[in-house]
């Protein structure tokens, strides 16, 4: 390890940073006596936060940013004139271990540009993971990108060492993908996804027979879609997410607001700013799918194909469906309480356990953590009702809840919201 790794690390981190996934969750791997590392209880730890507010949990880096492909949305496309670098297997292994020992990271997230051919590249990614696990007995988290077009054998081997694998869809509609990345198609994405899925399922069977069979990608797979580079509606995006979540191994879909890295390419929109509010709304909608028992067509449909940028999707649903409100906090089912704007999963659970002891009023709800500013229009509790969405009309409530433009802080375009796994 020496000084010129510094320059390479700079280049390869900058090339890797547009992949938004960072989570290090979904596995528990105990430390094996006398070795390095563990993976804790399902939630990853964010060890730092970059100045863009994103969590740094893994050493997210590329093996190389040399690429034979020319995807229009990618900083590393072959027609770009940027500094290129390649880290050796042993450099990557050392960096991971030394960073880990200092508690900088939870583990490694390794991706790569495609050099020579998909299998050649994939093989080297696998080597890094294999060395970490077998030679260095590293028990930290490993997330490997599966290179589109890599063979089943290599994906299967990668799965023995990785906690999570991912293949990015990037562009939801195939015709748009082909427009921007002529060398790719959906097949090249879905094929490795299927390999991972089948690997996990076969492994489940094996582990029933042999309890010591090694685990295969225990934290499942994730994927990413770029938002705002192409014409897809939120409905296109969320319906695809919903379909992906039907597969038992798909744990997370990430949404990455398009950063205009290649402004010269006229196939892409010239965005001044990445569409951050829209990206945020998509994450909120994704939560409603995964934790709030919403069906995808309740969030977006043909009549309402794009999420409301002004209010969050849960409030937006409530305003479109005043007939479900007000909800009686002291009687309603958990599922209905979960639907009240201003009540999160935690508060909803607290409400259900606390109301067994005594009736809940405004004071108790506030103490429990309910955002009463929002919730008050949608509930009744032990106190005299205030005016609800039915008396005030949805339009009226909407007006009351929109932030007044004067009060806005300068950087309100970015909502402060976590989208890591540990904040359901």
């Amino acid at each position: 390890m020496n000084e010129n790794v510094l320059a390479k690390l700079k280049i390869l981190a900058e090339s890797a940073k547009y992949d938004v996934s960072c989570s290090s969750s979904g596995t528990v791997r105990r430390n094996q006596a006398g070795t390095l590392g563990n993976t804790v209880g399902g939630i990853g730890i964010c060890h730092s936060f970059a100045e863009d507010g994103r969590c740094i949990s893994l050493l997210k880096v590329m093996l190389t940013n040399v690429c034979i492909y020319d995807c229009a949305y990618c900083i590393n496309r072959r027609s770009n004139d940027i500094p290129r670098a390649t880290l050796s297997v042993s450099e990557l292994v050392d960096l991971t271990i030394e960073f880990y020992r200092r508690n900088y990271i939870e583990g490694l997230f390794l991706s790569s540009g495609v050099v020579r051919n998909p299998d050649y590249t994939m093989e080297r990614l696998v080597r890094v993971a294999k060395d970490l696990r077998t030679i260095h007995k590293f028990n930290g988290y490993i997330h490997l990108k599966s290179i589109p077009g890599a063979s089943r054998e290599l994906v299967n081997e990668a799965g023995l060492y990785a906690d999570r694998m991912s293949v990015n869809i990037e562009i939801p509609k195939e015709e748009n993908l082909k427009l921007l990345a002529p060398e790719k198609d959906h097949q090249s994405v879905y094929q490795p996804m299927r390999y991972i899925q089948q690997g996990v399922l076969t492994n489940k069977e094996d582990r029933k027979k042999f309890r010591n069979a090694p685990r295969f990608v225990p934290a499942g797979q994730s994927t990413q879609m770029i938002v705002g580079a192409t014409s897809e509606s939120d409905k296109d995006i969320l319906f695809l997410s919903n379909a992906l979540y039907q597969h038992p191994t798909m744990r997370r879909v990430y949404y990455s607001g398009y950063v205009a890295v290649n402004t010269y390419d006229k196939r892409l929109p010239a965005l001044k700013q990445p569409p951050l509010v829209r990206e945020n709304r998509l994450y909120q909608a994704d939560w409603l799918l995964r934790f709030y028992q919403f069906k995808v067509d309740e969030i977006v449909d043909d009549a309402f194909p794009n999420l409301d940028l002004e209010v969050d999707p849960k409030l937006s649903w409530a305003l479109r469906h005043p007939e479900h409100f007000p909800v009686d906090i002291n009687r309603a089912d958990y599922e209905m309480i979960l639907r009240v704007p201003g009540i999160g999963v935690k508060s909803a659970r607290l409400i259900v356990v606390s109301r067994r002891f005594s009736k809940l009023g405004f004071y108790e709800l506030k103490k429990i953590g309910v955002v009463m500013k929002k919730a008050q229009y949608f509930i009744t509790c032990s106190e005299l009702p205030v005016r609800t969405v039915n008396e005030l009309t949805p339009m009226g409530v909407r007006k009351l809840l929109l932030p007044t433009p004067k009060k806005r802080k300068s950087d309100d375009r970015q909502l402060v919201l976590n989208f890591e796994e540990n904040t359901p």
Binding site: M1, L36, S48, F49, A50, D52, L95, R102, Q273, F357
Partner: protein, 256 residues
């Protein structure tokens, strides 16, 4: 006003509860040995910590509370917040007086308050897991200074021991002047006779104590930290919210 004076240990507090029942009186105020008394006093009772008494109280609590509620008590105590001892005393009395479990009765002000304190302490514990930064010393020990808001270091040791099982380490609370040392076999609580050694005050290992590669890895980490940020998405507010400024002093990536 009734005042209990005790030694300000957790065992002492449990003994106070014993005396609450023994003497059939509840204090309006708890004071440490040596603290000045307020102006108007009816009764001052000196509570001496007795093993027999605090064992009995703890045994009773263990019968009545779940493991997580018991750890609430520990977390509460480690918060070191002013008035937390009186809150804990009231809480524990309710545990013994109530015919049913009070653990989840959040309509009770003390139960709710303690759950909030637990949350604060647990957050700080988590922050420690996030933000501990080791520097490698020339003798191979990994040294990390910490300065948590609450006294949460003991709550993190299991985690670090499990995670860093093959390297010797010392995590040292520079505010409370004690730490834990892992020697590849077991973890011991340690204090240092000479607390004025520079790294026990500043948290930074001096040149003569530092391992050969350490500076390079710090540089690599700082470089990585800068490179991974997407400039088009700068969000200083969230950056500071998730990584509050008070931790920056000891974060490698935030050093010049």
């Amino acid at each position: 006003m009734t005042i209990f004076i005790y030694d300000h240990t957790f065992d002492g507090l449990l003994t106070c509860l014993f005396e609450v029942y023994n003497r059939k009186t509840f204090p309006d105020l708890l004071l440490k040995d040596g603290e000045p008394l307020p102006l108007f006093i009816d009764e001052v009772i000196n509570i001496e910590t007795f093993e027999e008494k605090h064992f009995r109280v703890w045994k009773g609590l263990r019968k009545r509370l779940s493991a997580s509620a018991l750890s609430n008590l520990t977390y509460g105590w480690l918060s070191e917040l002013p008035g937390i001892d009186l809150l804990l005393l009231r809480y524990m009395k309710k545990v013994f007086d109530s015919p049913i479990s009070i653990e989840t009765n959040f309509a009770d002000a003390d139960v709710l308050e303690l759950s909030k304190v637990w949350k604060k302490v647990n957050n700080e514990r988590h922050r420690l897991l996030q933000f501990v930064r080791f520097q490698k010393a020339s003798d191979g020990t990994f040294f990390a200074p910490v300065e948590p808001l609450y006294n949460v270091l003991p709550l993190t040791i299991r985690h670090f021991r499990d995670r860093f099982a093959d390297q010797p380490w010392l995590i040292y609370d520079i505010k409370r002047k004690y730490g834990f040392y892992y020697n590849l076999k077991s973890v011991e609580e340690v204090t240092f006779e000479d607390e004025t050694q520079a790294h026990l005050i500043t948290g930074i290992l001096q040149e003569d104590l530092i391992a050969k590669d350490e500076k390079l890895f710090q540089e690599l980490w700082k470089t990585y930290f800068k490179a991974i940020c997407i400039k088009e998405r700068l969000n200083p507010r969230k950056h500071k919210q998730d990584m509050p400024i008070r931790y920056w002093k000891l974060l490698t990536e935030k050093q010049e």
